[in-house]
């Protein structure tokens, strides 16, 4: 009992001391090398690739981590309370700039490390995540690179390969903010092109088999957005779709390799490199709030001829030639 009260008294003393200290104005010396805080939501191949890309992009812009730039990298391992602690660490270290990889990390950073530039790494729709005023003119000292796939280009590709397609199925995870917003955007694009879209959502990979079985009975082809959950169970989807000879058009090249037909895929590493370059520009003094959110307009063509043969789908010769010149072909 005594122990309880003494701990409470100690805590209040700490708070009182902290109150006194925090009231003092903070002195920041400006002659130090720029310090950057990178906060990543969780460990995941795509997010890791972005992280490595950022470092590469900084190097290409002349910033060598450990030499003329200091990087504090934190990974929250999907624990929401870690995000806050780690952001506070950045704020406390007075980082000159912070980078958030994946939406929740960026949201916590924006809320914690105030009055410092924030760079968004791979946030599909910064506007709908409430991170910027508009994707063209962000304001709020925030800018970055979106991992929105080149959907128009991808849809054109699907039409090229499936000229008689009437209904296109889209399968995505309902808890994945990025996948959901891609589904909405893709539906709009398809509407303009006069293609009927049917959306199918899953809660986790266990739903995939059943939902996919139902989907392939109603659609001519399947489009898979950039969705980590579906991607991790892509073999299930491929097996179900193959039974009905329904082709799968993913957004990522590695999914094409695992049983998709074709895509103009985004390269996560390249996205990271772009993010690193944006970061370098801001360190050099450019105003983040004036820099539009960047997207990669063109992806790398990837074809899976083996899969096409299996499903009896004819891939136009010009596409194959194009992929041979610049892209990847899985045979």
């Amino acid at each position: 009992m005594k122990r309880l009260y003494s701990v409470i008294i100690v805590l209040f003393l700490i708070l009182a001391f902290g109150y006194y200290k925090e009231k003092q104005p903070v002195k920041i010396s400006r002659d130090h090398i720029p310090q950057i805080g990178i906060l990543q939501l969780t460990e995941h191949p795509a997010l890791d690739a972005i992280h490595h890309g950022i470092i590469q992009g900084l190097k290409e812009s002349g910033f060598q981590p450990g030499k003329n730039i200091k990087i504090d990298f934190q990974n929250a391992e999907n624990d929401q309370s870690n995000l806050k602690t780690m952001s506070t660490k950045f704020a406390n270290e007075n980082v000159d700039l912070s980078i958030g990889i994946a939406t929740p990390s960026a949201q916590v950073l924006a809320n914690t490390v105030k009055n410092r530039p924030l760079v968004l790494g791979a946030i599909t729709d910064p506007k709908s995540a409430g991170l910027v005023n508009s994707n063209q003119k962000p304001g709020r000292n925030t800018t970055g690179v979106s991992d929105l796939p080149p959907m128009k280009q991808q849809l054109d590709l699907i039409k090229q390969i499936m000229p008689n397609m009437k209904t296109l199925g889209v399968i995505y995870t309902s808890s994945d903010d990025s996948a959901t917003s891609q589904y909405k955007k893709f539906t709009e694009i398809c509407k303009q092109e006069g293609i009927k879209v049917k959306g199918y959502s899953i809660a986790n990979t266990n739903d995939l088999n059943q939902v996919a079985t139902q989907m392939v009975q109603n659609v001519d082809a399947v489009y898979v957005p950039n969705d980590n959950t579906v991607a991790s169970a892509i073999q299930t989807l491929v097996a179900v779709a193959n039974k009905r000879n329904v082709p799968i058009f993913p957004t990522a090249s590695n999914v094409v390799k695992n049983g998709g037909i074709a895509t103009y895929g985004l390269n996560q590493f390249k996205l990271g490199v772009e993010t690193g370059k944006v970061t370098a520009k801001i360190i050099h003094g450019e105003n983040a709030s004036e820099m539009p959110i960047q997207t990669l307009k063109h992806g790398d063509l990837a074809l899976n001829l083996n899969q096409a043969r299996k499903l009896g789908i004819h891939i136009p010769q010009p596409l194959i030639q194009k992929a041979e010149r610049q892209g990847v072909i899985y045979k």
Binding site: L4, G18, Y19, E22, N82, P104, Q107, N111, S174, T180
Partner: protein, 299 residues
């Protein structure tokens, strides 16, 4: 210093969740898995209400009520439909995922640029990081006072008796089913309240934010108990709050020591296991005794 302040602030906010779980886990003596669903549900409700223009105070109260409702469902499933409590909780937790998506309309809702409880004039006038300390302190003091008062009423005593010995409570004419339903409801209301506070402090709510909540809540209860030993009911409630703060400070220490973030989940679990296991091991090996004797021999 500010890291410590921030950790204390977070500890105070998360203490609401610990105190909420205490009602079911310790007083009623059953594990309620609903919390992993009511935490994000509280966050979703509060954030969506704020986004629709409700004042943060109303939004936070709404979160509490929605949490109570979810707890009520678990309670009814458990007492009336005779579904085992673990399963009843898991059912409601699973259902809450769909409900959260319906509430928010999307998986992630941001609060940036919107008012929160922390936007008030008073909170903004405080030095950095003291806003969450002040908010957490105010809420946890109110919650503790209300609970202490409640536990001393006839109803509260009947509630405690139900957890202590159900058969005896029934023989005294207490409707134990109603007590359990009430306990689970209030407990989940508090956890949803905690979710609403954490979401406002973090600036967003996310449908996935409930994962692992039960471990965090258990940590505050168990650390509080192990560190402070035998206490009265009132002191125990306070010990949960201190336990929650200690947990945050230990995690901060682990992070500051530069441990790889990949190992964080393992570290939190090991920490908890140590806290839970030490009393038993101490008893078994008479550690205190051995230590004392060792010192004596040294003299």
């Amino acid at each position: 210093m500010s890291l410590i302040i921030s950790a204390i602030g977070q500890g105070l906010l998360w203490a609401v969740i610990g105190v909420g779980l205490y009602l079911t886990f310790r007083i009623l003596d059953f594990p309620d898995m609903t919390v992993e669903g009511t935490f994000p549900m509280g966050a979703a409700t509060a954030v969506t209400a704020i986004a629709h223009g409700y004042s943060p105070i109303i939004a936070t109260i709404m979160a509490f009520l929605v949490g109570c409702l979810a707890g009520l469902v678990t309670g009814l499933l458990y007492t009336k439909a005779k579904i085992p409590v673990l399963l009843a909780g898991i059912l409601v937790m699973t259902a809450s995922y769909s409900i959260d998506l319906r509430i928010m309309g999307k998986p992630n809702q941001s609060l940036l640029g919107l008012p929160t409880l922390l936007n008030g004039h008073f909170f903004q006038s405080l030095p950095p990081y003291f806003d969450s300390v002040a908010l957490g302190l105010i809420i946890i003091v109110i919650v503790t006072i209300v609970l202490v008062y409640f536990l001393q009423t006839d109803l509260g005593q009947a509630f405690i008796a139900t957890g202590d010995n159900e058969n005896m409570a029934e023989s005294l004419g207490i409707n134990t089913d109603n007590m359990k339903i009430m306990g689970v409801s209030v407990s989940n209301g508090l956890i949803a309240l905690g979710g609403a506070l954490v979401a406002q402090n973090n600036g967003y709510s996310d449908v996935n934010m409930g994962i692992g909540i039960i471990v965090v809540a258990l940590a505050s209860i168990i650390i509080g108990e192990v560190v402070f030993g035998d206490l009265t009911m009132v002191q125990r409630l306070i010990a949960v709050t201190i336990g929650s703060i200690i947990y945050r400070l230990v995690l901060l220490l682990v992070l500051q020591l530069g441990f790889n973030a990949t190992d964080l989940n393992l570290i939190s679990s090991v920490l908890l296991a140590i806290f839970m296991g030490v009393p038993a091991l101490e008893k078994k090996f008479h550690l205190k005794h051995v230590l004392k004797r060792g010192l004596k021999n040294h003299d």
